[in-house]
Point group: C2
Amino acid sequence: MKVRILVSLKDSVLDPQGQTVRNALHTLGYESIKDVRQGKVFEIELEGVSQEEAAKVIPEISDKVLANPIIEKFSWQILEKG
Amino acid sequence: MKVRILVSLKDSVLDPQGQTVRNALHTLGYESIKDVRQGKVFEIELEGVSQEEAAKVIPEISDKVLANPIIEKFSWQILEKG
């Protein structure tokens, strides 16, 4: 099973990395870009787990390893079943 | 318009960051995780651009600023229109 997990800063948390990217884009003339938020994406290959087990494991590893739950949120989706 | 851009290493490029995460997960007992690839995600707010203009601007800024086309690939999707 292939799973994609998106980890991004909570909306209430400042994102200096994203702001730097936005400023760089403005300098290059892309004035239409009003806001940039940067996060992480993990694509994970799981073997021998059911969808129910994945639904337990993914939030667990996201909270423990992939994201910092104090300042980050995560979402996930299954890309390939089986 | 809100757009999400995913930037990840090309399949042929080693991902030591992802491997470190996988090893950490194995150490914690998550043996079902066979592979981890880590990438970046950008959520971008565009103003005053049509969908056609976005389809021109997004690949442009991805190639110039967000990704390194030598070793990275990108994909994008519109999250919110208008």
